[in-house]
């Protein structure tokens, strides 16, 4: 793989981990919700040093996974020909509706 893509993976990992930390620092419970992670996970995130975060980022794989399920990526919907201008983005419902046994 070319080194530019590798660099982008590392950058994205770093951005994600730093953003996660900031979200949790600003408002811990809301941060857990935004990230879709559990309380113990959130506490571990906050305990990471910047050095550890930078170390965790330096890999050729992404440190986070896709939260949307495959059927949510199917953008076709029975609502396609309806006026949905008063509805919230359906992705918000789908993500918020994930099983929350981990939080």
């Amino acid at each position: 793989m070319n080194s530019r893509l590798l660099q982008e993976i590392e950058d994205l990992n770093l951005t994600y981990l730093l953003l996660a930390r900031r979200l949790l620092e600003e408002d811990f419970p809301s941060g857990l919700f935004r990230l879709g992670i559990s309380k113990p996970e959130g506490e571990r995130f906050l305990a990471l040093t910047t050095k550890q975060i930078s170390h965790l980022s330096r890999t050729n794989q992404l440190v986070f996974t896709l939260r949307l399920r495959i059927d949510h990526l199917d953008m076709e919907s029975p609502l396609d020909r309806r006026d949905v201008s008063s509805l919230p983005n359906l992705t918000a419902i789908r993500l918020a509706s994930e099983e929350n046994d981990q939080i």
Binding site: D27, F28, P29, S30, L32, F33, R34, K39, R69, D71, H72, S77, P78, L79, R81, R82, D83, V84, S85, S86, L87, P88, N89, L90, A92, I93, R94, A96, S97, N100, I103
Partner: protein, 176 residues
């Protein structure tokens, strides 16, 4: 009566946040120990006006109508996660959830169908076992339903919209 000054200060802070988010007086009367006269004073100081009079809307059926049901379901899904994250402090969860919900409305550039008071009413309906959530058998997302309704083959308003749904909604009850 509130127990001590620190406790009272916390309650005043909570009430200010609720008033700022548009809560009606009845919400504050139910959820705080502050006297009615203090609440009235607080309301006037925060809003610069007296609280609106009149009854709160009581119908659980509103949450079943198509557009409001999708909004309500988003709200309740957020609430149930935030509630766990704040260790079941309902009012903190309500305030945080209303912020998260309002943020999404801002991103979507739409009016929140749920006012703060409406959202609070919904949570009380859940607590008194009038409303419940059910997973759609097609998309597996959770939606607000009447409690104790037959659960078989439930399809949500997104997967199975009623035929009239999607005509522009006139009044979704935001002006509560």
């Amino acid at each position: 009566m509130t127990k001590n000054l620190v406790d009272e200060m916390h309650q005043v802070k909570m009430c200010i946040e609720l008033i700022e988010m548009g809560a009606r007086l009845q919400v504050l009367q139910t959820e705080s120990d502050l006297s009615r006269s203090r609440l009235l004073k607080l309301f006037k100081e925060v809003r610069g006006d007296s609280p609106p009079k009149g009854m709160l809307p009581f119908s659980a059926d509103w949450f079943m109508t198509w557009g409001p049901n999708i909004h309500s379901s988003l709200f309740y899904n957020i609430y149930s996660k935030v509630l766990v994250a704040v260790e079941f402090d309902r009012m903190t969860a309500l305030i945080k959830t209303y912020r998260l919900y309002s943020e999404q409305m801002m991103l979507d550039d739409i009016e929140p169908a749920l006012s703060l008071t409406r959202a609070w009413t919904m949570i009380r309906f859940f607590e008194s076992d009038i409303l419940d959530v059910r997973s759609c058998t097609r998309c597996d997302c959770k939606f607000v339903v009447h409690a104790h309704e037959p659960a078989k083959d439930f399809l949500c308003g997104i997967c199975n919209p009623p035929s009239r749904a999607g005509k522009p909604l006139k009044d979704s009850g935001a002006a509560l």
